[in-house]
Amino acid sequence: MDYVHLRRQAASLRKGLFDQGYLDEQFYQLEDLQDDASPNFVEEVVTLFFRDSARLMANIDQALDKCVKDFNKLDVYMQQLKGSCTSIGASRMKTECTAFRECCRDENIEGCMRSFQKIKREHSVLRQKLESYFQLLRQAGPVECATRPNK
């Protein structure tokens, strides 16, 4: 298997995530926290994020389905989602979360719904791209395999 090629693909995918604004510098922070003691830290955090964000988004869906809209509750859920987005550097999602919260403040339900659809799309795209990225990394293996230092 061409590990160099896989690694290059992973690097290109990663660069694209930053260039296209899906991720911001907070993602670098997660990468800095990854070490020998936690070799899969970034993937673990991202996995947790997608699990947790799916739960929050299901709560928001339910709240939006109700006849009587509770904008305070919607705002609380969205604040939690935005917080998680911030923690992993999910920049586009974070921007849409902010827009949603502004609609909550204005009690603009149509705005909330439009914004939420955008959040769902961004969530789906980001998940797809990051899953591909981590899959490539797994296939490429650890860097030490390819560059054994001379002793």
Partner: protein
Amino acid sequence: MASYTGSKSTGREGSSQELHVLAVDDSLVDRKVITSLLRKSKYRVTAVDSGKRALELLDTEPNVNMIITDYSMPEMTGYELLKKVKESSELCQIPVVIMSSENVPTRINRCLEEGAEDFLLKPVQLSDVSRLCNRVLR
């Protein structure tokens, strides 16, 4: 919700004593990140998901050197946890640091006036933790 516990101390080595930080955050993602930040700074970490669990742990675990808590949590906010800690004769000496994703000056002032050592804006950086722990846990 189950607690997420970071690395535990394997025991005291030589003359250095591993300091124990209690991290409180209802967000699973943030608990993992703050735990890693603190472990990277060589602290023993216990992470819990609520103020209630934090108080339960403080009841049974005497050796907590610092509490770092999120502000916005359901049922008991970080501010309410701070107040309870500062009102307790057993716990009031433990430094408490508040984290929040929102930069609200009145919130920050209220926490500092109540005795918080510091107020960190999320996302918390490694440099924030290093600076904070050097100052608070010196």
